[in-house]
């Protein structure tokens, strides 16, 4: 997993503007960079035939939702994905939520927030404010799905395309 994380971080450029949703115009600048980076990341995924999520935000970019999916043994498992930009972002990292999996795995907090504090929070702390939404997807949610979905699927806790 370490390997994946560093590879993903290297393949994505950083974000320049250090601003959060309370910072007005600066936040719009940051949001544009976030979108630009997401577009690059999605393009990259599509080129590598590894498209694995869809997201969109509300007008001010503070609330996001979409889908993410993972292929295990040629079967596709898809989940609703949502997250909010915290008030003190980017100092505070994003918490990815998969509400459908709430209560199905102990590597998750109440409400369906995936457990990232051990491997993701230190990474975020080390690089912030240069990491953004695309980095969070690539280095937090991606590895989490890769680690958890096979286990949950093999235990029969999740069904394909639930």
């Amino acid at each position: 997993m370490e390997q994946n994380i560093s590879t993903s971080l290297e393949s994505l450029p950083f974000i320049k503007t250090n601003a959060g949703p309370k910072d007005g115009e600066q936040w719009i600048e940051r949001l544009k960079e976030e979108y630009m980076l997401l577009i690059q990341y999605i393009q990259m995924n599509k080129e590598e035939d590894h498209d694995w999520f869809n997201v969109e935000s509300n007008a001010d970019g503070t609330k996001w939702n979409g889908k993410c999916w993972y292929i295990h043994n040629f079967v596709r498992y898809e989940f609703d994905l949502q997250f909010e930009i915290p008030a003190t972002y980017p100092a505070t990292p994003i918490e990815m939520e998969l509400p459908e999996l709430d209560g199905k795995t102990h590597k998750m907090y109440r409400g369906g927030k995936i457990c990232l504090d051990i491997h993701f929070a230190p990474l975020w702390a080390k690089y912030q404010p240069k990491l953004g939404i695309a980095h969070a997807l690539a280095t937090a949610l991606g590895p989490w799905l890769a680690a958890e979905i096979p286990v949950l699927a093999d235990q029969g806790i999740i069904k394909p395309n639930m």
Partner: protein
């Protein structure tokens, strides 16, 4: 259940009677430890997180007769919490702040308890959190005396850190590691001591043990002992800070395996990623050492001691303060890339709407 406050506070008397709840506390004055114990009634303490540490701190301060407590937490009481102190099985299912309020008011009806059942990290709640820091004193027209972080996760700590840097609010941070075998408290004075973003202090202090910033719930261990020790340290330190006795440690750690209690100053990082922290550092760069807030009570006490005991002046002179020490980069360099960093480029003419649209189109393919 005592839900209402009595019309008037009970008198804080030093009379030694079986039915005087304050006699043992007021004895601190008689013994010369605290000059003015009654001052505790004028203080309000905002506690974020009333779990294993925060609930015990709230109880200790309530028993000490604190003026007001403001409690923030969004969790409910579960049976899985019963290995720690304070909550009872009958509280199961209640919001932690509500359960805490009930018990605390029974313990000491003189204390005002204000509860906020919310997650401070979200945009709306953050504003309310900041508002309560600014206006949460007893009269509701000024800032709280101190903010205590008793949370179990990195995001909430960073949120408290941002708010306190923004508001120039002094606060204390606390935590217990996921193994329940170590813990710490830390005094954070914006611009004067390290903020939480300066060097994620936990990682530094525990020699790279990142587990400290892990959140409870997943598979973290916890013990009432370690939690109680850290809660005791934190409450004691708050009393020292509020009532002006003893020395307040900037960082105090606890290792249960070896009974090791490291204690040292933590200076701010000039390259801190929190802009507000940098602003505060600049603001306080030219403040003379003796006027810094971390030295305020010591300086005041030294002056009084001088006036009282001129002949002992030399013996009592404290060593020159060395608080100015800053964290050395060393192996904890923020980012160690050798090649220049690549940043994402947004063209000037590109609007947010266009970007949103092109992402949508791309994803529809």
């Amino acid at each position: 259940m005592v839900e209402q406050k009595p019309p008037a506070l009970r008198v804080m008397s030093s009379d030694v009677h079986d039915d005087n709840p304050y006699s043992r506390l007021m004895a601190l004055k008689r013994m010369g430890v605290v000059k003015n114990y009654e001052a505790i009634r004028g203080h309000s303490v905002l506690i974020v997180g009333v779990g294993g540490i925060g609930s015990v701190v709230a109880e200790m301060l309530t028993r000490c007769g604190i003026g007001k407590l403001l409690l923030f937490d969004y969790d409910r009481v579960e049976l899985a919490n019963m290995n720690r102190m304070f909550y009872l099985p009958t509280h199961q299912g209640l919001a932690k702040v509500e359960a805490a309020k009930k018990s605390l008011q029974e313990i000491n009806p003189d204390v005002q308890i204000e509860t906020h059942n919310m997650n401070i990290c979200t945009l709306d709640n953050y504003e309310q959190f900041c508002e309560r820091i600014r206006n949460g004193n007893l009269e509701g027209n000024g800032r709280v005396s101190i903010v205590l972080s008793c949370v179990d996760n990195y995001a909430a700590r960073m949120t408290i850190n941002s708010a306190c840097n923004e508001l120039d609010q002094i606060w204390f941070e606390s935590g217990v590691s996921e193994t329940a075998m170590s813990g710490h408290i830390q005094w954070l004075i914006p611009g004067e001591t390290a903020c939480f973003a300066c060097a994620p202090p936990l990682v530094v202090s525990e020699a790279g043990d990142e587990n400290q910033i892990k959140r409870e719930g997943v598979c973290a261990a916890s013990l009432p002992t370690t939690m109680g020790i850290i809660a005791g340290f934190l409450s004691q330190t708050v009393l020292k800070y509020l009532l002006d006795f003893g020395e307040v440690s900037q960082f105090l750690g606890y290792n249960a395996f070896t009974d090791y209690f490291p204690r040292y100053p933590l200076g701010p990082n000039p390259e801190c990623t929190d802009r507000k922290c940098q602003e505060r550092q600049k603001q306080y760069a030219h403040v003379p050492e003796e006027e810094k807030r971390m030295n305020a009570s010591r300086v005041k006490r030294e002056k009084e001691e001088k006036a009282l005991q001129v002949q002992q002046q030399k013996d009592q002179a404290h060593t020159e303060n060395e608080w100015g020490i800053t964290l050395d980069g060393g192996e904890d360099e923020q980012v160690q890339e050798k090649k220049p960093e690549a940043f994402v480029e947004v063209k000037k003419e590109q609007t947010l709407e266009e970007l949103m649209k092109s992402m949508k189109q791309l994803q529809a393919k």
